[in-house]
């Protein structure tokens, strides 16, 4: 199963490196939003006491909505290009989900690698607990990729799948988004890892629940 999932991941990476559709979509959205926010707010237009709350929320709003503009493609493009049927007949559902989920993790990770340092520089966001932030980003990436991959599989065969993806993902990911913002705010204010642990526990639990339910739900969604 691992070899098959890696084959799906390698295919996704190769296709994306050649077409760059998803990467361009999410980076363009993220950078445009980031520049607009930085231009309007900048490092000095928020009171010091409000900075941890507002900047944590802004960071995740940018990351979340940028991600929703590209993560659905893993399944939608298979339906659009008529390759979904070929894939269904060649691979086990578990391998397809694992490969596509791993690709979305890579895509989100790339987005964060570009956006988070830029956000910190442009908006003067100082993070006291860097390790805490890194752990939050890692857990958030896994959780968000899990939710987005499953929703993408569900909506891929529907007409108007782009709109449906946003409509379904936003309410499902809202608790995750709240925990990520709370955790990021805590990481910004404290160098202690303990400060981010409550949010981290919640995020890891949500990622675990989503991944486990996907193992059972995905074969049904994929085949029927």
């Amino acid at each position: 199963m691992l070899g098959e999932a890696l084959a799906v991941l390698a295919k996704e990476l190769r296709s994306e490196l050649r077409s760059r559709v998803a990467l361009n979509a999410i980076l363009l959205f993220a950078l445009t939003t980031l520049v607009a926010v930085a231009y309007q707010i900048g490092p000095y237009r928020i009171h010091e006491e409000d900075r941890p709350h507002l900047l944590a929320a802004l960071l995740w709003i940018i990351l979340f909505f940028a991600a929703t503009s590209g993560l659905a493609r893993v399944f939608v493009k298979e339906e659009d290009a008529h390759t979904a049927k070929t894939l269904r007949l060649a691979a086990r559902p578990g391998a397809v989900f694992a490969g596509k989920f791993a690709f979305n993790v890579v895509l989100l990770g790339t987005l964060e690698l570009v956006v988070v340092p830029l956000f910190c520089v442009l908006l003067g966001y100082r993070v006291a607990g860097l390790l805490g932030l890194v752990l939050l980003l890692a857990a958030g990436t896994v959780a968000l990729a899990a939710v987005a991959t499953m929703v993408a599989a569900i909506i891929s065969r529907a007409s108007g799948s782009g709109t449906l993806f946003a409509v379904l993902t936003v309410p499902l990911a809202l608790p995750l988004l709240v925990m990520l913002i709370q955790g990021t705010r805590a990481a910004a204010g404290s160098a202690e890892l303990a400060a981010v642990l409550p949010a981290l526990r919640g995020i890891v639990s949500l990622a675990g629940v989503t991944l486990v339910s996907s193992v059972f739900l995905f074969p049904v969604v994929w085949h029927d």
Partner: protein, 204 residues
Amino acid sequence: MVTFEDVGKRFGDRSVLAGVSGQLRPGVVLVVTGPNGAGKSTLLNILSGLIRASRGVVSYRDGRGELPRERWFSVLGVAAPDMAVYEELSAMENLRLFTRLRGLRRSDTSLAALLQELGLAPREHHRPVATYSSGQKQRVKLAQALVHTPPVLLLDEPSSNLDAAGHELVASLLAQRRPTTAIAVATNDPREMAWGDEEIALAR
């Protein structure tokens, strides 16, 4: 061997297939014919497990007994007009992918030999499929259906987009595989209908 009994399909209140029975076995090519909308592709989709029949039973048997539905794909090779290979990848990369997805390993030499057997010259093997003609894409599509040497082949209009030489090529490929492979061909092309040993004629 694949057996299907009294297979029918309804989409909402519209019946597209009613009470079809038959058998796929090595040495026999089953040709499914009928006018557009008679349910030829639907029957092949049901036989491949892609859609569920509204009524009737499909069963796959190998030497060890009946195969569960989730394992049908491992013994199947399918090519159909509504299936595509990955256009960003080359023909060779597509074949590597489809063998790995099935948990198999094939040397590049054997994959290149299959592509050549299907009439794709070595200089074409490493170009993205997006740059191929429709006939060349059809050949890659057939290659992905054959790459794992499946004991069951379901082909929907297999020589569509192919020239006369391509049609002959498909005929000879099927003739080679006929003794060991259970084959079904859905078609309205009289040249493809001539390959059949048995026929199911569907009516609309």
